[in-house]
């Protein structure tokens, strides 16, 4: 009997010829492998909804809770922006380490390490986290704006800030999720190691969002904030790309 699929990499044949070209078989991350990881995470998330539920619950419930406590007050744009990003950050912290933590907890990380190019794991999961963030924010941000009576004077700017912030959050949380998932006390450790690293992003995003909510004066100048966020994203993407192999492999 011949074990192995008909579409396998090598044709069957003499021992020497099947064994020799091994060096060429080190897999590289391709768009197809990144997609494979993404869809795998997407399917299993869709069937369990563990991360989605916690992120969505958090990012939708907190604006509601906030609106109860500050309903009578007229909030400054800067305050609103700070509140929005605090909510979004904590929503990200409860859910984004999930995909790596699940791999380690269920033991599937072993086969994934053995079969999948490391870069594909990183970018597949970063893409998944990005989609998760964008998806939940599509619901949470409008609720926030409505319930807290934010004046949305620059909607395009808000979208841009959200997108830049989400890219940074998704990449950082993938790298740090991979780190935290291999340690004890995974969940709490993830928050502890992620918060200091996303603070610069958070500050820049709040400033940009304040401008989108109509802040004037020095706080209304949003270009420095956008530049910083873009720079941060480029920095973390590069760092993650270069360092992930050391985190993931033995």
């Amino acid at each position: 009997m011949e074990i192995g699929s008909s579409a396998a990499i090598q044709p069957p044949g003499a021992r020497e010829s099947t064994l020799h070209p091994l060096t060429a078989l080190v897999p590289r991350a391709t768009w197809a492998t990144v997609q494979a990881v993404f869809w795998k995470d997407w399917r299993s998330e869709w069937r369990t909804r563990a991360a989605l539920n916690s992120i969505a619950l958090f990012s939708i419930a907190s604006p509601v809770a906030l609106s109860f406590s500050v309903a009578r007050q007229r909030l400054e744009p800067e305050t609103l922006a700070g509140l929005l990003w605090t909510v979004l950050l904590f929503a990200a912290l409860v859910g984004l380490a999930r995909s790596f933590v699940k791999e380690e907890e269920s033991g599937t990380a072993t086969l994934l390490r053995l079969s999948c190019p490391p870069d594909a794991v990183l970018w597949g999961k970063a893409l998944f986290n990005l989609v998760l963030l964008v998806g939940t924010q599509a619901a949470a941000v409008p609720i926030f704006v409505l319930l807290l009576n934010a004046q949305l004077s620059r909607a395009g700017l808000l979208l841009l800030v959200l997108l830049l912030g989400d890219v940074g959050l998704a990449v950082v949380s993938s790298l740090l999720g991979a780190i935290a998932s291999q340690a004890r006390a995974r969940g709490s450790l993830f928050a502890a190691i992620a918060v200091p690293l996303v603070l610069p992003l958070l500050v820049a995003a709040s400033t940009g969002t304040a401008a989108a909510f109509g802040a004037v004066g020095p706080q209304g100048d949003f270009w420095p904030a956008l530049q910083i966020m873009l720079g941060y994203d480029v920095a973390v993407v590069t760092a993650a790309w270069m360092l992930f192999d050391f985190v993931w492999s033995a």
Binding site: L19, H20, P27, T30, A36, S106, G107, T108, R113, A250
Partner: protein, 204 residues
Amino acid sequence: MLCVRKLAKRYGARVVFRDVNFEVEVGTVAAVLGSNGAGKSTLLKIVAGLTRPTSGRVQWLPTGDAQGALDAEVLQWQCGLAAPDAPVYRELTVGENLEFFGRVRGVELTPDAVLSHLEKFSLHTRRNDLAMDLSSGLRARLQLAVATLHRAPLLLLDEPSANLDEAGRAILQRVVEAQREQGLALIATNDPRDLELCDERIEL
């Protein structure tokens, strides 16, 4: 030829094993023997490049001499592994698991190819069932199916017959026979029946 030299592993102060040496030729199936806790699983993980040894080295010598020797990082991609602590994705179906592991290995599988591969493991009727709904014996077969998907020159089986019934053992036997043709296999086991499949013994 798989060549293991002076291999040692410890976790902190706990020594798993020290000074393990062996060679396994292509076309050979070797049994890794040892009492519980002797480090059989750890040895397989080190050979697969999943765990770094404290000292020593694992090499793949394709022609028997040191020319073209592969180190552990390359060797990792030549392994197929089926182990109780290396499960497949529970939330994916049997077919999706195969497709996923094929795709990340660079093997694009048609639905027919998936089906014909599953038939060899008598899993084709359970193709659309979630892996978490399978019995432990069927899940062991699925792990074998994933491990052999990409024709690994090096097949690593950890306690392969633990949950298998008679039909499953027959499948295992065919897998091992086929592996002789395309490479070599290491089987970590305590089951005397598994020894019948093996040509060599490695005592830990």
